[in-house]
Amino acid sequence: MTRAGGRWLRGLVLAVVMLGLVLPIAAGLWETLAAAFGHLPAIGETGASLDPWRRLLDLPGVVTSVKLTLWTGLASTAIALLLALGAAGWAHRRFGPRALGRVLTPFLAVPHAALAIGLAFVIMPSGWIARAISPWATGWDLPPDLAIVNDPAGLALILGLVIKELPFFLLVTLAALAQIPVGSQMRAGRAIGYPPAQVWAFVIVPQVYAQIRLPVYVVLSFALSVVDMAIILGPSNPPVLAVAMTRWFLAPDSGLILPASAAAMTQALIVVGAIALWRGAEALIAVAGRAILRQGRRRHAWAGAARASAGIAATLFVLGLLSLAALTVWSIAWRWSFPDMWPETLSLHSWARPGAGWGLAVLNTAVIGFATTALALVLAVAWLEGEDRGGLARARWAEALVYLPLIVPQVAFLFGLQVVFLRLGVSGGIGAVIWAQALFVFPYVMIALSDPWRALDRRLLRAAAALGAGPARRLFAVKLPILLRPLLTAAAIGFAVSVAQYLPTLFMGAGRVPTLTTEAVTLSSGSDRRVTGTYATLQSALPFLAYAAAFFIPAWVFRHRRALSGEPG
């Protein structure tokens, strides 16, 4: 009876996921594909032709854009991953995973755009670093004319992506380490004469990597397709492909939509190709690693590499913190001349006028964030409860379904989805934005909630059932209260993901739903750093508040429950 109820619930959830999540993505991809081959009745184009592709190739800088996309995406992911694996090797024996997790989690809350704007404030020629070394070391009395931000090689973009993805990689690495008997394997490796860093590299890292492969692909796909951070930090002319095609899609000249659709398909191919390339590199490294391992050489050089990555990682954290501080300082700066380290006069001018725009943006951001998070949370709980009641394990295809919106690049289907939404008459409103954002919020909420949900002590549920509590009472009186902390953490992650969304908001809102992220990105190209700083500060403050709530609410609710208060007891 219960089991049948579980199947029913799971079927319902699956139908919602199919209709609400998979179908829009598939329809969006299909419409974009059709447009890439010249079929878009909305602008009077019909028929299949290769013309959009020809026009794409004729657009200036398109080949450079593709090269820049591959370079920045692959380099940033590889650097962040290597630093994370190396730094974890140094850190895991020195700090507990809990302490590291607490330090790292707030970094996940920072939206890409806010971090990018802050980083620009720090590294640009008139930024904090240049001020700190001027004029005594550089002789600069005026900001030098250097392209540090928006450099043609994309180095600033790579730096920004590495700072943002490094904490994520460290967190998934820590989670993977909890599944491995690191201590005993380390003892076994050292007992046969290998220094710890080498045991780490040859024994632990391969096991960790096998577990974090999917998150690595998610990051790679994201880094190849990122738009907001690439607008703020990336090369400007030509930009990476995702930025170029966003400009074409939004250009007043609707003739650019067809080549832009071809570019969107190219983007999807780039992601598929890059993941294939990455898999090839994995295989090569595995073969080379085994060959080196068979030589049995005990080398101490590995310790240096681990220490160096920990050092670089720590430097990047400091740079990230400086970036966030720069946002707030700029938002209250009034007169601040080069090369002073601190503004001469402070002012709350841009904070004092919410009516100028940020009030509405905060409201929109919060409403969309709450709505998408609530939707995602209900769906995730229904999914997991359906699995529990049906006694079903997660099927591989279901797991793939969850990851689908994270692997398929946003730009590849968002335009087509906009076409679908237009046809359904739901485009341009806050509802369309909520729907589109939920596509990306749900997977993160689901991933964050799955492990704690399954880790719940099943005997508690048996005890409740043996006391006569039915499935509904078990869910609401036992499971959900005990899982309050992971539920709120998943909600905070979902909220942070929603706040950070740029492209779905821009496309589905048709420019009529200003959020902190869309406004901050637009403002970042302007000259008023005070206003930009205000928006970006708010943009990082909202998710941070959500994380703080997820931390303090369970601590307060369970202040008299040692097993759940989160304090070691």
């Binding site: 079903l392 048996r462 409740a464 759940l564």
Partner: protein, 212 residues
């Protein structure tokens, strides 16, 4: 008849060729404590799960569980009226000690005042007077075991399963908790089935015992 009856119960791991133990049929009368002995790993806890309705999806089982003449094999765990005392107390960590008991208390006891009193009485009879608001995580092992038994009994089960309930207790505590449990169980006049690998448990129960 009144009592707990098992008819030709056989359990296999899904895909395994042979069952965990030979097909089992037995009867436990009301007021009787029947002990099933067997080494660890033979499937005693799996048998308890089957009788209580908690068997994992990874098992195939056949046979009947009949309680007071009614076949309950097809019912979900919460509708069987079969209480279980686990090896660990398994108190709900988010509820106070008293609310753990209140969660269990039979629905037929109605009224806020009456329900509160029933819980306070149960706490008192377990030597836990004044423990209503206590965090279960702060209880000693013996207090936890007594609270768990009270919780199980307050649900007014029609049969009781004891799954190695004393195995994790210190030797001196084991004696005390064992007599506490048997004393409270006997006055209920319900069938009790205990599985254990410790012969002294069977001896203390004083009833029939059989080997799995």
């Amino acid at each position: 008849m009144s009592g707990l009856e098992l008819g030709q119960v056989s359990i296999r791991r899904a895909g395994a060729a042979s069952p965990l133990f030979p097909a089992l049929s037995l009867e436990v009368h009301a007021g009787e404590i029947l002990t099933i002995m067997g080494p660890s790993g033979i499937g005693k806890s799996t048998l308890i799960d089957f009788i209580g309705g908690h068997l994992d999806a990874g098992f195939d089982a056949s046979g009947k569980v009949i309680l007071n003449g009614v076949d309950v094999t097809g019912r979900p765990a919460e509708a069987r009226g079969i209480g279980i005392l686990f090896q660990d107390a398994v108190l709900f960590p988010h509820l106070s000690v008293g609310d753990n008991l209140a969660f269990a208390l039979d629905r037929r006891i109605a009224g806020r005042f009456e329900r509160r009193k029933a819980v306070e009485d149960a706490l008192a009879s377990a030597g836990l007077r004044g423990f209503y608001e206590r965090d279960p995580a702060t209880l000693s092992g013996g207090q936890r075991a007594r609270a768990a038994l009270m919780r199980t009994l307050l649900a007014a089960p029609r049969a009781l399963l004891l799954d190695e309930p004393f195995a994790k207790l210190d030797p001196e505590l084991r004696q005390e908790i064992r007599s506490f449990v048997f004393e409270h169980v006997r006055i209920r006049d319900i069938p009790v089935l205990m599985v254990t690998h410790d012969p002294s448990d069977a001896e203390a129960a004083g009833g029939r015992s059989l080997a799995l």
